[in-house]
């Protein structure tokens, strides 16, 4: 257990270091949330009051957080494959899932910046007020959201172990999840058949937990759902990684050639 925690910690630190050393990664992490926040504000500033704008800005923050998770999941495996570290990591005695947890959580952690940037941008340019209804629960909802998004990232990264070009599919998931998770518009506006999908997604509950912590409400249920989904994603991730790794060894898709 201690080894697993150490492994997650070092994976998290080194992934953050790797991302911080790429100008492109840094620029993307800095600019993307600001762009998303601006789009959301321009869409809603005419029709909505201060509370609506805050609701939208928190949704925009989760758009950035989700983008970061998705980018991290897709890019980590793809980069490891292209620099041929994927084989070395998989052929080590540590289960690949453990090393994946650290790197995936690092991407979600970077996504946290998008929350800060979106709220700061909204405050500075659009005068969106920021008062926390439940500061303590807000502090609790953030790590719960990061954890559940990070572990959802693992489920997607697992597919990339087997399918060399699955990152294209992962990238396609960015916009539909914004809608399904109710980041820009309430889930109630979506057709009924979308609701089960929405409720299975970490961004839905993460955004709800943070929104209810800031705007008022009972965020505890949403926080609990984040943690429950994180556990479910971990179990799914475990089976995906184990089976896809086995299949990749059978089909010889770990290396590029």
């Amino acid at each position: 257990m201690l080894h697993t925690l150490r492994m997650i910690r070092i994976g998290w630190i080194l992934q953050l270091k790797t991302m911080a050393r790429s100008g492109f990664d840094v620029m993307q992490a800095v600019v993307t949330p600001i762009v998303y926040a601006s789009i959301a504000f321009f869409l809603y500033r005419r029709g909505g009051g201060a509370e609506t704008l805050l609701w939208v800005s928190l949704g925009a923050a989760f758009m950035g957080l989700w983008a970061s998770t998705l980018w991290g999941a897709g890019n980590t495996i793809q980069r490891q494959r292209s620099q041929q570290t994927l084989e070395f990591t998989i052929a080590s005695p540590t289960p690949f899932l453990v090393s994946l947890i650290g790197t995936s959580l690092a991407s979600s952690t970077v996504g946290l910046y998008s929350l800060v940037a979106t709220l700061a941008w909204g405050r500075l340019l659009f005068g969106v007020p920021l008062e926390l209804a439940h500061p303590f629960l807000f502090a609790l909802s953030l790590p719960a959201a990061v954890l559940s998004l990070g572990l959802l990232g693992i489920v997607m990264a697992a597919m990339l172990i087997l399918y060399r070009y699955a990152y294209a599919l992962a990238n396609m998931l960015e916009y539909p999840i914004w809608l399904a998770a109710g980041l820009l518009a309430p889930i109630a506006l979506l057709p009924d058949w979308v609701h089960p999908i929405s409720y299975a997604l970490a961004p839905t509950w993460g955004a709800r937990a943070v929104r209810e912590s800031v705007l008022g409400g009972s965020p505890l249920f949403a926080i609990g759902m984040c943690l429950a989904l994180a556990a479910v994603y971990l179990v799914i991730g475990y089976f995906f990684v184990r089976n896809f790794e086995q299949l990749a060894r059978k089909r010889a898709t770990l290396a590029l050639s």
């Binding site: 080894h3 150490r6 080194l14 270091k17 070395f88 990591t89 005695p93």
Partner: protein, 322 residues
């Protein structure tokens, strides 16, 4: 005791051709490879590019599942007991990839030390020991992306030895490394067996195999074509002789005529700047120099010499016979 055993290993790849009309193809890369390596032995797997040396080694290190056959390391099946095997083997691939480019050598080693379960209190001294061994001490805080090929290769060796494995797989570890660096690497490889490790080395450099290996298996087209000590393999061609002819712009037709001569066992051409060296292996007791030269009429010929066969000649004959 056999530390590594490969028993009739086979590996087939599925591939497709065409864009619209796709056709599935099955390529049999490894075709019934068997060998065993004793404890403390340095065993060479020798073969040309595409002979399936890497595919064979990837099956032994648990990265590929064999299509059929068995492979055991320290008595454990590499498919059923993959995790057990992984804890006890180290492997080093040739080339300049396989490292986290944006991280320092130290970070790379720290990460792999954790992956291989090296105890935290032992990590620091072990990493320092290996940095000293491979000559990277003092450069460990630099990012790997700024490393030369030789430095990367030495870092690969340090990475492969972090957990002090009893069995080490080295896949063309000196490829692309400059002569001085390659010599240092060979000294490091030799020191591994001196410290009691069992080593499987793949290479296509004959002198490297000759200098380092206790035994060699020659692999060509996915099959083992010969096995033995370097001396035994050389003995297979000991009674032959080799004629070397310097030629300038030799044509393929002339080479084919030389190959067709009775008593010629193998013909190879080495490019040497503006000229080529035609190396002809001939059957024992035959003097074919004149016959060879007569087949080269029209080609400018330089120095002609004959010599005793080497391990390389034995290898060439074995792989060209497949």
């Amino acid at each position: 005791m056999n530390v590594v055993e490969a028993i009739d290993l086979r590996r087939t790849y599925k591939t497709t051709t065409g864009t619209i009309r796709r056709r599935s193809l099955e390529v049999e890369a490894v075709r019934g490879v068997s060998f065993s390596i004793a404890e403390g032995e340095l065993f060479g797997l020798l073969g040309p590019n595409g002979a399936s040396k890497t595919t064979t080694i990837k099956m032994l290190i648990t990265l590929l599942i064999p299509t059929s056959g068995e492979a055991r390391v320290l008595g454990h099946d590499v498919v059923k007991d993959a995790r057990w095997v992984r804890q006890r083997i180290g492997y080093v691939f040739g080339g300049d990839r396989g490292l986290y480019e944006r991280l320092s050598a130290l970070d790379n080693l720290r990460y792999f030390a954790e992956l291989y379960g090296v105890e935290p209190r032992k990590q620091k001294p072990r990493i320092q020991e290996l940095l000293d061994l491979v000559g990277l001490a003092g450069r460990e805080k630099e990012r790997v992306e700024g490393y030369s090929r030789g430095m990367r290769q030495r870092l690969h060796i340090a990475r492969g030895l972090l957990h002090d494995p009893p069995v080490v797989f080295l896949d063309e570890p000196t490829i692309g490394v400059d002569p001085v660096g390659a010599r240092e690497l060979r000294a490091t490889i030799a020191s591994l067996t001196a410290s009691g490790k069992t080593v499987l080395l793949t290479t296509h450099y004959m002198f490297e195999a000759d200098a380092l290996c206790d035994r060699i298996a020659v692999i060509a087209d996915g099959q083992i074509v010969a096995q033995g000590t370097p001396q035994e393999l050389k003995a297979g061609v000991a009674d032959e002789s080799v004629v070397e002819v310097e030629v300038f712009g030799v044509e393929e037709a002339s080479v084919e005529r030389v190959k067709a001569l009775e008593g010629v066992r193998a013909v190879t051409i080495e490019e040497r700047e503006q000229k080529q060296l035609l190396i002809v292996q001939t059957a024992p007791g035959l003097e074919l120099t004149h016959a060879i030269l007569s087949q080269l009429n029209g080609t400018s010929v330089g120095r002609v010499s004959s010599r005793e066969p080497t391990l390389e000649d034995a290898y060439v004959q074995l792989v060209t016979a497949v």
